[in-house]
Amino acid sequence: MYRSQRLSLRYYAAAVTLFGVMIVFGLLSALYYLYPSLLFNVFNFSTSKIMHIDTLVIWLLMAFLGAVYWYLPKELGREVEGMWLAELTFWVFCAVVIVVAAVFIFVQYGPATDFTLWFINQGRKYVEAPRWATIGIVVVMLVFAYNVVATCVKAHRMTGIMWVLALDLIPLVLVYLDAFSYDRNMSTDLYWWWWLVHMWVESTWEVLIGCVMALVLMDVMGTSRRIVETWLYIEVMLVLGAGILGLGHHYFWIGTPQYWLSIGGFFSALEPLPLLGMVIHAVYDAGAHRLKTTNRPAFFWITTEAFLNFIGAGIWGFMMTLPQINLFTHGTQWTVSHGHFAFYGAYVCGVIAVFYVAKQKTSGAAYLDGKAWKWAYGLLNIGMVGMVMGLLLAGMAQAFFGRAIGGSTLMAFTTASENPWFVSGMYARMLFGLMFAAGYVALVYDLVTSPRRIATPALQPEPA
């Protein structure tokens, strides 16, 4: 095993741990909706929500970095260049996360001063980490970019996947710098903040997970390089063609010019079309391999990613993306429902597949299967579907009673929050959230235990 693959395993361990922290704070945040006076004057809801969302961003980012460090030596046939820097920044990354989490939990907030901005909370949603920590993350991204580019240069080899990854590193570093800027004008500030959220977390990450999935598909399904690179180029084309201007659906109600209604609505409406193509591709590959693979958990998670991405981003997104509907739905639990489903489908399923690839290689199992992964798969998926259905119900109640009938007043918001449809949706979310947490426990159990020896069935695809 390469040194960078050992580093990758550390990244995976950190990612899985933060996945658990995210779930804990997700459950806590869900409890506040049922018991609003919970932990009153001890631990406020907004900090719990910050922990839930920020750990989501960080654990996925760590998993992506881990996946690239895993596949880089295999792709280029040599050890990653600058490993000591990569290892150092991993520990720096972990230390930053621990210190920031401790500050969020024990200090929580400060006065509106530069000290708070630099050392407690910089107050920008999704990137609340104080400024010193944000600089730390930029350093981690720069070292990661150096590792990738320097390894390609030293190896004197550039594959199509590596070209896409190397070019994606530019926005991965540059767009994140948007986390530092702020403007006193709320509209201007949100305008650029959405670049960070949409362009960095959605577009740039989409390309990054596309590169990772291309490598996983070659590994798990034995798909040829020519095929995965062709689809990767198509994905990049779609991201550039529709994904960037899809940003417009975030600009509907923040004070930007009215033409964003048409641009955002139009390009967002196109988004389900490529996702449908992904579903067809997943079915084709599953049929081509007759559901036979040496790594069943990874295979099922990859296939599930295509379906849940279509449902979460495609169906859930299209329900509320047109401006006339979005006027009533934005900022309600309806949006939360879409966000949970889309993130889970687009990223989480793929990342879990990557974990199982590493498990198979490290355990030396020729064939990976068993019962525990099926429990994790079932509980996580049913838990997530149940949560998003509960959130959808609650969000519809908010849009109907609070926005469309009540006219978005504070009183209407309160009335909608006490409506039985909203409350029952929140209870359903909590219940299925617990199921999701049980799935996480099963996943961790399965990842850390040695696989049972299972005879390898015939007709396994050879890795490319």
């Binding site: 079309l273 067809i280 049929g287 081509a288 449902i311 169906i315 299209f318 509320m320 509907i325 109907f400």
Partner: protein
């Protein structure tokens, strides 16, 4: 837009994409498994998607531009599964991988 039409329109939009996805899913499973009945069921889903698009165009308060976009999308949905499938067959043909 009335409160009732808000929910009706949103649900119709969701069902429209769901029916399109049902077409893609059933069509491709039917092709992979060599079961024409599933392909026919998939096409029935597309007819459902088209019918929903017509209902959206006729009975919801969405703007004319959005209604046209949805009707055109319904037509585009018709070609995505077979065109994607043919493309997949072509790209995979050299690998000897066929469902």
């Amino acid at each position: 837009m009335t409160p009732e039409s808000l929910l009706e329109t949103a649900v119709l939009l969701g069902l429209f994409v769901l029916a399109g996805g049902g077409y893609g899913g059933l069509y491709s499973v039917g092709r992979a498994a060599g079961r024409p009945a599933l392909i026919r069921a998939g096409r029935a889903c597309w007819v459902g998607a088209l019918a929903i698009a017509v209902v959206i165009a006729a009975a919801t308060p969405l703007g004319v531009g959005w209604k046209l976009l949805i009707l055109v999308s319904a037509l585009v949905y018709a070609v995505i599964p077979p065109v994607t499938w043919r493309y997949l067959e072509r790209t995979h043909s050299d690998e000897g991988l066929r469902p």
